[in-house]
Symmetry: C2
């Protein structure tokens, strides 16, 4: 992970569809060299994948909610996690310090669907209680923060 790798990561974070040739131009190496570096960043796990950033409303997911979860005292955290993993509406899942063990970010199409999700969460074994906050609007999300100050 030298400065060129960080530069590549940065470029791909801002536009994952850049060609290797273009990346090569930007970092001042040849295309095969960049190809090999990116390959190593992928296999080493630094680059986990490439995702299109989609306007949620456009695909019928206009409701965003953040849900805190309090676990039962004797709950098996792995089982709870597995249950959450089977709910596709849960886009993100953080294991938190504090009374609420989990913080979930969920995205659904309607308030009715959110209600159904909350009911399912409360029925999940190991879940003691849920606390849901609705996002009125998303100002921004997953903004990539610059990782390499010296962009040559």
């Amino acid at each position: 992970m030298d400065a060129i790798d960080l530069n590549l990561v940065d470029l791909l974070r801002n536009n994952a569809r850049l060609s290797y040739a273009e990346l090569a131009r930007q970092v001042g190496l040849s295309a095969p060299a960049v190809h090999e570096r990116v390959g190593k960043l992928e296999t080493s796990g630094v680059l986990r994948g490439y995702r299109a950033d989609v306007e949620p409303e456009a695909v019928g997911l206009g409701v965003t909610a953040l849900i805190g979860i309090v676990e039962d005292s004797g709950a098996d955290t792995d089982d709870v996690l597995a249950a959450f993993r089977n709910m596709p509406e849960i886009e993100s899942c953080y294991f938190m310090a504090g009374v609420e063990s989990f913080l979930l970010k969920a995205r659904v199409g309607t308030i009715a669907e959110l209600e159904q999700l909350i009911v399912r969460l409360n029925r999940t074994p190991g879940v003691a209680s849920t606390r849901t906050s609705i996002a009125l609007s998303t100002k921004w999300e997953n903004r990539p923060q610059p990782v390499s100050p010296p962009a040559a």
Copy 2:
């Protein structure tokens, strides 16, 4: 936005670096047709961009926190937002229903940097109080949820 468009969106959400030729094979059209469709999805704002998904620890951002913000009674929300926008550590910013007007997701390298961020937030004009929860681990994040059930 027909079924083929949804299919394309789905494919690009899971791998934004797929070639047009490959996309064409998967949806059963020619490459130029796919090229044009994707172009329209981009200009219409459905596809906002393409991002590499980076392991945060690998780029020195091992600490994730979620921060609730209570605004002053007379605060100018736009000014507060602008201040947040200038803090690159804030990766996501939701405007919420409830006492806490904003929910921020921030990512920093160390607890010390988190402390500095919280101090800066509390000093920001319009911010009455902050409530920070630290994520001990991220189970998953921004998992794309399937948007087109019939992947014919």
